[in-house]
């Protein structure tokens, strides 16, 4: 029992003491956590399969403290992982074993909601939905609506360039953010964008948005608010064939219609959600499309008419238009609850997030059906069909190591197939740690090196969220070797140091 601690553990403890001593003078004592029982809640984000306890957690309350924490960490060369609500699905906020987790939870104030300029300026820890709630009395809202919007923060949305079910018409986070204020890795205040519509010099906002906390630490965001549509109505359409449903999606767009939302669920997912929400979904359908129109009453009436024509022409077997807001929300209730519903029919699920060209929807669905047999696991599918963003949910039991292993192979296979079909490994959830290997497939070594060089221009010491998003040459070489020699993908070993 008295065996000496291994050298690594001793080093870790010494490093922890050093960091705590350096941070203690710059933040209040209650804002600094390092005891194991206090830091455990931070060991993962929404991707719970990947865990790492941070060395130290710090919860600054002012921008001055954020600057001081960053300066201190920079001086000590300590990695810093910024964290919002921890709802991310790719492990982007997974702690660094020898790093500081910088929780921005206390930056939760809405600073200004202005009807005249249609903007809101909020601290980074404000929840996505709270912005729309604050703007609602003014007849305005913040358009991007990721499914986690009751919990996720705007700072996290900026980090991931989050989407939602309405982004085909209203755009992603990038299209709805005017200005990001934050701090460089050295602790210097910096602003990207402004209330004007463009910026002198290189436009850094599109690089910072979606950079997964690797370029700067966001503390404040100014977003655009848009007028609430007077009316929204939704068509629920059934199809007896997956390919017909995929073609219907293309037909709607080809008709010159940009729906406010265009979502698809396959039969297994429909069964799972119907059991959960009892919305009256057609359980015989091979696929269900939800197609929404919003705008003025005249506009919606005209557009719904055109949508019904196109969907009927594409072979819909059943169509129902929401009669009122209650029914519209009921149509959406299943789609919005796809994840919890999956949680009821399986001990665990892994959510994929690739995007493909719309016209390949049927191809990927058939490929996924083939993979279900190959990996002997079930998969239920929901899609942001309008923009080709897939969320296959692979159902498995994490207590069975072989199932977890097969699930990871299944997931990687979906991502690689998506790249082959002309798509991308992540549409809105980010790379984080989860999809590092898949980045080796999507990008050539020179492209990844260019991304490392880009990061170094913002963060020369490589201290902001290191090890995420861009895999090293070595990691990709290892992945490629395993991939070829065994004909199977390896169990991903995370780079922790």
């Amino acid at each position: 029992m008295n065996a000496p601690l291994p050298a690594a553990a001793l080093d870790r403890a010494a490093r922890q003491r050093e960091i705590v001593a350096a941070l203690a003078p710059v933040v209040p004592s209650h804002a600094l956590l390092w005891q194991a029982e206090d830091t455990v809640p931070y060991e993962c984000d929404g991707l719970t399969a990947y865990r790492q306890q941070p060395l130290v957690v710090v919860l600054p309350e002012t921008e001055g403290q954020v600057a001081a924490v960053l300066k201190t960490c920079h001086a000590l060369k300590v990695p810093v992982v910024a964290r919002g609500a921890g709802t991310g699905l790719s492990g982007g906020a997974m702690p660094h074993a020898l790093g500081v987790t910088l929780s921005l939870a206390k930056f939760n104030k809405i600073l200004k909601v202005d009807a005249y300029s249609r903007t809101a300026t909020v601290q980074c820890g404000v929840r996505n939905l709270a912005i729309s709630e604050a703007a609602s009395p003014l007849g305005l809202y913040y358009a991007p609506d990721p499914s986690s919007q009751i919990a996720c923060t705007i700072g996290g949305n900026v980090a991931e360039n989050s989407g939602g079910v309405h982004c085909l018409k209203y755009g992603l986070t990038l299209h709805n953010v005017l200005r990001v204020r934050g701090f460089t890795v050295e602790g210097e205040a910096v602003e990207f964008g402004s209330l004007a519509l463009d910026t002198p010099g290189l436009d850094l906002l599109p690089v910072v948005v979606g950079s997964e906390g690797m370029l700067a630490v966001t503390t404040e965001v100014t977003v655009k608010l848009v007028p609430k549509p007077q009316l929204a109505r939704c068509i629920m359409a059934s199809f007896d064939d997956i390919r017909k449903a995929g073609d219907a999606v293309a037909a709607v767009i080809a008709a010159g219609i940009i729906p406010a939302g265009l979502e698809m669920m396959d039969k297994p997912m429909t069964a799972a959600v119907e059991d959960f929400v009892h919305a009256g979904y057609d359980l015989d359908a091979e696929a269900i499309l939800l197609c929404e129109s919003d705008g003025t009453p005249e506009e919606v009436a005209e557009e719904i008419g055109r949508m019904l024509d196109v969907l009927a022409g594409a072979g819909a077997t059943r169509m129902e238009v929401s009669k009122d807001e209650a029914q519209r929300l009921k149509f959406w209730s299943g789609r919005k609850n796809a994840f919890p519903a999956s949680g009821r029919i399986s001990p665990d699920y892994m959510c994929m997030d690739s995007t493909i060209p719309r016209k390949r929807l049927a191809d990927i669905l058939l490929a996924i059906a083939e993979m279900e047999r190959k990996y002997a696991l079930r998969c239920a599918n929901v899609f942001h069909a309008g923009d080709g963003n897939l969320h296959p949910l692979i159902l498995f039991d994490a207590n069975d190591p072989d199932q977890l292993h097969r699930c990871e192979l299944f997931g990687a296979d979906i991502l690689e197939t998506s790249v082959r079909l002309g798509g991308t490994v992540t549409g809105e959830h980010g790379v984080g740690v989860e999809k590092l290997n898949s980045m080796c497939v999507q990008f050539a070594p020179e492209e990844r090196e260019q991304m490392f060089a880009l990061k170094a221009a913002f963060d020369p010491a490589g201290l902001l969220n290191p090890g995420k998003v861009i895999p090293t040459l070595q990691r990709c070489a290892e992945y490629g070797r395993m991939h070829v020699s065994k004909g199977l993908l390896p169990f991903p070993q995370l780079e922790r140091f």
């Binding site: 402004s194 519509l197 010159g256 005209e302 060209p357 963003n389 002309g422 549409g427």
Partner: protein, 362 residues
């Protein structure tokens, strides 16, 4: 590398890098007057020509950089689609690569977004003579840093844009233009008030006591808005000609501006918050983008113009002037200047491309 046009460019970049030659990337050469003065040996992109793929139902077109903008727009028009950000056309030779590199957008910018909002992917020839692809041909893509969008407005300083994938949209079903006789302050107030209402606003311009407003969208929505807003409906042919002139910067205001520039004045592009009050500069002003873009013909000192823009919360670009000594683009804050300098070096370590075109270098 099968493509001979690309092969040639790669060889040129390798050679330039080896002997320290600066290269001046040249598409149609219609925007040489914009930005800091071009320097270096011309590197023509014209051979990188043609639409690589276009699928209207995907709302995506992939096009090589040397393709004339007119050719791309003709292909889109044929399928009832368009570039919603309305890039200005400065001549028949204007190319798609130049459009992205300059990052300029037209009258619909405030309502529909700018160039970078429609860039989905790009292939770039960087300063190490590597051909790199970023982004893709899909609407949603967060795999790695969004380098493709960074190229919009980069003025060619990061490398040669070889090919881009752009999001396109259907041409609006209905369009109506209204005119109102109002002074500038009232025009700005009206535009911002309407902006908070569910109206199909698409473009606006105020000049010399007249506000012109374009509505675009579903026929029913446009009709309802016309009834609600009042004003005078402008004859459709006259309206089209007005918006085209404004977009291409060939209308009366810009003709006057070019004349004034020849006479020693400057044309400034002021980018400010939409709600900014009329700028306290006693010169001729044209207000676009719901108040967010203000053109100014002025002989006032650059410092005074830039200070007015900064006070309003924006920045001023010395858009056209014989004397560019005050610097074309507004100075950056210290951290942004440092990041930008290091980014240029990250893409083009020997600064082969368009040296000094954004800001003077060394």
């Amino acid at each position: 590398m099968a493509d001979p046009a690309l092969r040639d460019l790669i060889d040129r970049v390798r050679a330039a890098r080896a002997d320290g030659t600066a290269l001046d990337i040249r598409g149609g050469g219609t925007k040489a007057w914009y930005g800091e003065a071009p320097a270096g040996e011309p590197l023509a992109t014209g051979a990188l020509c043609g639409i690589s793929s276009y699928e209207p139902s995907e709302l995506v077109v992939t096009v090589r950089a040397g393709t004339p903008l007119a050719e791309l727009e003709a292909a889109l028009t044929e399928k009832g689609q368009c570039l919603p950000f309305e890039p200005p056309r400065f001549g028949a030779a204007s190319t798609v690569g130049g459009m992205v590199a300059a990052g300029l957008a037209g009258p619909a910018r405030a309502a529909m977004g700018g160039v970078r909002d429609y860039v989905l992917g790009a292939t770039l020839l960087n300063g190490r003579a590597e051909v790199l692809s970023f982004g893709g041909q899909v609407m949603k893509n967060v795999a790695g840093y969004d380098v493709a969008r960074l190229l919009a407005g980069s003025m060619g300083t990061l490398g040669v844009i070889c090919e881009v994938s752009l999001k396109v949209l259907p041409v609006p079903v209905a369009r109506t233009t209204l005119r109102f006789d109002v002074e500038q302050a009232e025009a700005i107030r009206l535009l911002n008030t309407w902006g908070g209402q569910p109206l199909p606003l698409n473009a606006s311009a105020w000049w010399q006591g007249v506000l012109v407003l374009r509505l675009a969208g579903a026929a029913a929505a446009v009709e309802a808005a016309v009834t609600r807003l009042g004003g005078e409906v402008v004859d459709p042919a006259m309206a089209d000609s007005f918006w085209t002139g404004l977009r291409n910067q060939t209308d009366e205001f810009f003709i006057g501006a070019v004349q004034a520039v020849d006479d020693g004045a400057a044309l400034w592009r002021m980018s400010v918050p939409q709600v900014a009050a009329p700028l306290d500069l006693a010169d001729e002003q044209l207000v676009e983008w719901g108040g967010a873009q203000r053109w100014l013909i002025s002989s006032a000192p650059a410092d005074q113009v830039r200070a007015a823009a900064a006070t309003a919360g924006g920045h001023a670009t010395l858009y056209r002037s014989l004397d560019k000594s005050p610097g074309v683009f507004a100075p950056l804050s210290a951290p942004l200047a440092r990041i930008q300098r290091d980014l240029l070096a990250a893409f083009d370590p020997d600064r082969v491309f368009n040296r000094g075109r954004l800001y003077p270098e060394r």
